[in-house]
């Protein structure tokens, strides 16, 4: 589902002395099927931006089009149910939204709000639970008895059960241990491919942004600074650092290696095998040039 954002401006506390511009003239196109990562300093407007895509905030100016639903500033919102059914939003620490007595009921909450019958919702709940890799045996347990990681999976299943076409993730790995992080991200990657979703992920990890996404969007002070392929974004190292951001570890490594080889790192790479190949290449070139490596 294509997402088009035109001249989007958002104000916090409009018409009070605390008025603050949260987003300023955002123009973005997100093609159907893209895995987009949004990076930016705390307070750069990432979370505000993604909430607009779900119709949770009203634009002060501009418009947002998701599929065939358009939200325009100054106009009464169209029926948002249709939009929210298609755009699943996983908030930061989604486990905080759990409330039902059983896991099953909690996962069914979404589908039933969007008009699914009980039987259908239950089937969807089982499917979603399977997608997030939890056994069916947890269905009848209280979500509050589960471990933190399991609770998060249940909460995510609650969003997936609605079967959205766009999924938005706000720092989905915050507070997870390294194994949990990797599992969570590969889960979303798998879903993205399997269900040909459009995925938008807000993250603080440059490694994740670089490794998983088709495109990376950099935000600063409510504006979009860059939006491009990860290779292109992460070659602007100084620019990123001036925004208080960093570059992926692989790039850091290659940069240090290059201080010795003096051959330039060329196209940035983000995975371990690619980096290994790159190292060999750089070492070879370096030796030819007579560097002592």
């Amino acid at each position: 589902m294509d997402i088009t954002v035109k001249d989007l401006t958002h104000l916090y506390n409009p018409k009070t002395p605390f008025e603050r511009i949260a987003l300023k003239d955002i123009n973005v196109q997100i093609k159907s099927g893209t895995f987009l990562s949004i990076i930016g300093h705390t307070g750069s407007g990432k979370s505000t931006f993604i909430q607009h895509i779900n119709g949770l905030l009203k634009p002060a100016k501009g418009e947002i089009t998701v599929g065939d639903v358009t939200i325009k500033a100054g106009e009464k919102n169209p029926k948002l149910t249709a939009l929210r059914k298609k755009v699943g939003l996983v908030f930061q620490y989604p486990e905080h939204q759990l409330f039902e007595e059983t896991v099953e009921k909690d996962i069914c909450f979404g589908p039933m709000n969007f008009g699914a019958a009980e039987e259908e919702a239950k089937r969807k709940a089982r499917d979603a639970l399977d997608l997030v890799g939890l056994p069916e045996s947890v269905l009848n347990r209280s979500p509050f008895d589960l471990s933190g990681g399991q609770m998060r999976r249940v909460a995510i299943a609650g969003v997936l059960a609605v079967e959205p076409e766009v999924i938005i993730l706000d720092e989905p790995t915050a507070g997870l241990d390294p194994v949990g992080r990797r599992e969570m991200l590969s889960l979303f990657m798998k879903l993205h491919k399997q269900k040909s979703l459009t995925t938008i992920m807000v993250t603080h990890s440059m490694d994740d942004a670089a490794f998983y996404s088709d495109e990376v969007m950099v935000m600063d002070k409510g504006r979009v600074v860059m939006k491009d392929k990860p290779e292109a974004v992460f070659s602007h190292i100084e620019k990123l650092q001036s925004l208080g951001l960093d570059v992926p570890e692989t790039i850091k490594f290659l940069l240090q290696l290059d201080e010795r080889c003096q051959v330039g790192i060329g196209t940035p790479v983000f995975s371990i095998p690619e980096t290994a190949a790159k190292i060999m290449e750089m070492l070879g070139q370096g030796r030819e040039k007579g560097a002592r490596v």
Partner: protein
């Protein structure tokens, strides 16, 4: 829903902001009592003058004071109308059908309205210019003597400051959970009363869960930092009584005397 009266503090550096909260509390206490002494144009004039000077000195935009009044203005208008219609004193001014308006009623209604307005403006001024924490500190010290008769003043004050401190946090949390549930198709704004009440459950349960968790964490954090109640505890923010505080007390006394002397 987030337009809650507590915590409407408007940051500033005016002389009213810098007054000692204890003095402000005492002065308001005095003011609320002496307003009832006023009973003629001069004394009400003094009361109004005092309120206006207070507003001007605080440098708080009038908009905020109006916002504090908005909720109460209907009550004032209602009181005024009742007084005008049902007080039969002085000359008859207007008489249309069953409505008879007397001069005494008009003046009486006006006076009562002014009295209410003045009290509300001055108390609003307190919350606009004093942080909730300062108010609590002030109350704790002023009520300090009651500790002698074993009233748990410190605990009350602590409870109050913790609640005040967590109001914005809880509101934020509410907003967040509301959004999360809206994203899952919850509808908080429409439907029948029964549906709306049902829609609140997905909001309340997570809110309670997190509030309890937060309370536990806070208690642990306080204990870890050595909190053990009131005994031998010193203050981070020591309230300072300065010249302007004494001045305000003197002004209050003068106002009292003036009202007593000038009232008829």
């Amino acid at each position: 829903m987030f337009n809650i009266i507590i915590g409407q503090y408007v940051p500033g550096q005016s002389i009213i902001h810098r007054l000692d909260p204890r003095v402000k509390l005492i002065s308001i206490f005095i003011f609320v009592i002496i307003v009832f002494l006023a009973n003629n144009w001069i004394t009400y004039g003094l009361v109004v003058l005092f309120s206006i000077i207070g507003i001007l000195l605080s440098k708080v935009p009038f908009r905020f004071i109006y916002r504090g009044l908005r909720a109460i203005i209907i009550i004032i208008i209602f009181t005024f109308i009742l007084n005008v219609l049902f007080t039969k004193q002085g000359d008859l001014l207007i008489s249309i059908g069953w409505i008879h308006i007397y001069k005494g009623g008009l003046i009486g209604g006006l006076f009562i309205s002014i009295r209410l307005l003045a009290i509300i403006v001055i108390t609003t001024l307190l919350t606009l210019t004093t942080t909730p924490i300062d108010i609590t500190d002030g109350i704790e010290i002023l009520l300090g003597p009651l500790k002698k008769i074993k009233l748990p003043i410190h605990e009350f004050a602590l409870m109050m400051s913790i609640s005040l401190r967590f109001i914005p946090t809880l509101l934020e949390e509410t907003e967040k959970i509301m959004k999360a549930q809206s994203a899952r198709g919850s509808d908080f704004a429409s439907g029948s009363v029964k549906q709306r009440i049902k829609a609140i459950i997905p909001l309340l349960v997570p809110l309670f869960v997190s509030a309890f968790k937060r309370a536990e964490e806070l208690a642990m954090a306080m204990e870890a930092r050595g909190y053990r109640g009131d005994e031998g505890r010193t203050r981070l923010r020591v309230l300072k009584w300065t010249g302007k505080d004494t001045a305000l007390i003197i002004i209050m006394l003068m106002l009292t005397v003036a009202l007593v002397v000038l009232r008829t």
